[in-house]
Amino acid sequence: MGDDQEVIYVSTGRPKPPIPYNMRDMVLPGDAACPGCPIPMAWKVLSAVFGEKMILVIPACCSSVVVGTYPFHSLKTSIIHVPFASAAAVASGTAEALERRGILDVQVVAWAGDGGTADIGMASLSGAAERNNNILYIMYDNEAYMNTGIQRSSSTPLGAWTTTTPIKGKIEPKKDVAKIMIAHGVSYVATASIGYPHDFYNKLQKAKGIRGFKFIHLHAPCPIGWRFDPRYTVRIAKLAVETGLWILYEYHDGKLTISSPSRAYMDPSKRKPIEEYIKLQGRFRNITEELLSEIKRQMDANWEWIKKHM
């Protein structure tokens, strides 16, 4: 830990932040991601913290295809592609092997989508969490099985259109995996969003300094699956936080802390109306008034839970 950060002064006389200079080298242009995809945005932040000193363990998901085809891949780091349900298990094995070999400065990062984590990967996730294996598990949540064509996952929000909920929309609430991880009592749990890279960066730096199981639930809006113009990826990620629907927080040492971007929205009057978030996304085009009020009710319940456990 503690690489020497190059400090560059500009005319204002203030030092430049560590990102984006460290973000420049690992994510290589020309990948196969859709325009506006949040995944490489997140990888840039990841690279600012770990650089080449990480091994990504990627199960079946968009990321396994974004990196391109044999014989090349679009990230200047190591990747182990693994079967769909096994990211946490493979990552655990790799972490143990590295520790045996005395390699303590390479972080094993399981990078999986919501499908590979909350659905098919739930068992191996729970196993690795319970064993407290030294891995950083990042569930990037684009709220559906995007790689196979936008089918519903347990992480799809209420009322959303997907190809397997094409008319009624999803009728079950969104599964809250971060809470499940907190219930496992793991070393570190955080929620993050690609709209807030500095917050994500800080959380990654915190996780880097902890040995044990770390979990980050990363909100990653998908232009194709959520039906919005690709230019709005960041705007929508920010709206999710500004409306209070996505709450940024950390859980560490038994304590829950709200992250600074979300702190203002503890006060309901400061939150933007959720219609602003909903109306920008084609997947909510046919959402009923009933489901919309249910979403608001669940959001309030979520905030109550956070406040109670802070």
Partner: protein
């Protein structure tokens, strides 16, 4: 020097693993494999074995964790049976197609439903297409020796394929036999440190398993078939080395019993081959010109070696302890298929499936069935090409 101990088949495997000194063991308990994992846990916790045990939450995760550890440079081991093996089936394929050396012991148990813990070869045979080198033990000594040799074969640069070693649950797994345990320092020198074809440990950016177009993928899979062919040579070399170093008399991919002057040959695999050899002994004493082949390595399938033995025989009887539903026994299928690539005039080959789901088959049963077969062929009759014999007392 080595020492002799009375060990169950499962414990023999545990001692072999202890000698091979893996770095990471990830296993999930399942009857009849459980005592392997329990023994290894005990060896680790009392300091006999310097290894990390990952107490995974499922067999799928067991092989996945072994895969992850192996890619990063660890020597790994796992063991399972039946349902567990089927649960990890997708990772079984993943490991061989990624050319990662590792060793797994299969304590054979039939496949369910209904619940049944008794042995046949169906779980082992179910993996035959996956690209693993596969061997099967006849007794506890061989179980130990095959597991130890598996590490060397798997880590050979001409092979770089994972290896699975089978032994019957309960019949070998829970039965005590005297076993000679090789000397630890001799094994260490012979086995050497872990070897693998590539490593992903953060030292250089490398990825394994990314999206690959059809032509490139086919080329990669063709490499596995080539490695299987090379494995035949490597297996023979390793077996001979091992024989010399540790005083054994194993004979490569197959073991021939009275084949040189035989006109009739039986073929089998596993513990019941011992009972078959007793029956063959008895038949020979009655003047029947019969011998038996015991398959030690089922993949790569030792067609050339078997062909050399059966090419001038009158009849071949293949005993299978598993069935491919809707078709025949797997050994018979491999043999008959391979035979036709060698000759248009094969000897008379017949298949008997028996002992399924743990039904006991004795030397008496083998004697009766084999005698029937030979008698039928001798009077120019045509014994059925395929028969499933349900043996009852």
């Amino acid at each position: 020097m080595g020492m002799k101990k009375a060990l169950t088949g499962n414990y023999a495997v545990s001692y072999a693993v202890k000698l091979a000194r893996p770095d990471v063991i990830a296993a999930y308990p399942i009857t009849p494999q459980t005592s392997i994992v329990e023994k290894l846990s005990e060896m680790i916790e009392n300091g006999e074995l310097d290894s990390v045990m990952i107490r995974v939450e499922s067999e799928h995760s067991a092989l996945a964790a072994c895969f992850g550890a192996a890619v990063a440079g660890a020597r790994v081991f796992t063991a399972t049976s039946s349902q567990g093996l089927l649960y990890m089936h997708e990772v079984v394929h993943w490991a061989s197609r990624a050319r990662i050396p590792m060793v797994m012991a299969i304590v054979s148990r039939t496949i369910n439903a209904p619940w049944n813990i008794w042995p046949d070869h169906s779980d082992f045979m179910d993996q035959r297409d996956a690209g693993w080198v596969m061997s099967y033990a006849m007794d506890n000594q061989e179980a130990l020796d095959l597991v130890l040799q598996a590490f060397k074969i798997s880590e050979d640069p001409s092979v770089y394929l994972p290896v699975m070693v089978g032994l019957e649950g309960f019949i070998l797994g829970h039965t005590t036999m005297p076993v000679d345990i090789p000397d630890e320092s001799m094994v260490r020198e012979w086995l050497g440190p872990r070897r693998q074809g590539y490593i992903i440990d953060g030292s250089t950016p490398l990825a394994v398993g990314g999206l690959t177009m059809p032509e490139d993928t086919e080329y990669i899979f063709y490499g596995i078939q080539e490695a299987m062919n090379e494995a035949k040579k490597v297996i023979k070399e390793v077996t001979n080395e091992y024989n010399k170093l540790f005083g054994r008399k194993y004979s490569g991919l197959i073991e021939c019993f009275h084949c040189s002057d035989a006109k009739y040959i039986t073929i089998s695999i596993g513990a019941w081959s011992g009972d078959l050899m007793e029956a063959v002994e008895k038949l020979r004493s009655e003047g029947y010109p019969i011998g038996s082949i015991r398959i030690r390595y089922y993949r790569p399938f030792p067609m050339e070696d078997i062909w050399e033995v059966i090419r001038s025989s009158k009849g071949v009887l293949v005993y299978d302890r598993s069935i491919s539903f809707g078709s025949y026994g797997p050994i018979f299928t491999d043999l008959a298929g391979g035979l036709l690539t060698y000759t248009r005039n094969p000897p008379y080959v017949s298949n008997i499936v028996a002992g399924i789901a743990g039904v006991n088959v004795t030397a008496e049963d083998f004697y009766k069935l084999t005698k029937e077969f030979i008698d039928e062929v001798e009077k120019n009759g045509q014994p059925p090409g395929f028969k499933w014999v349900m043996i009852r007392r």
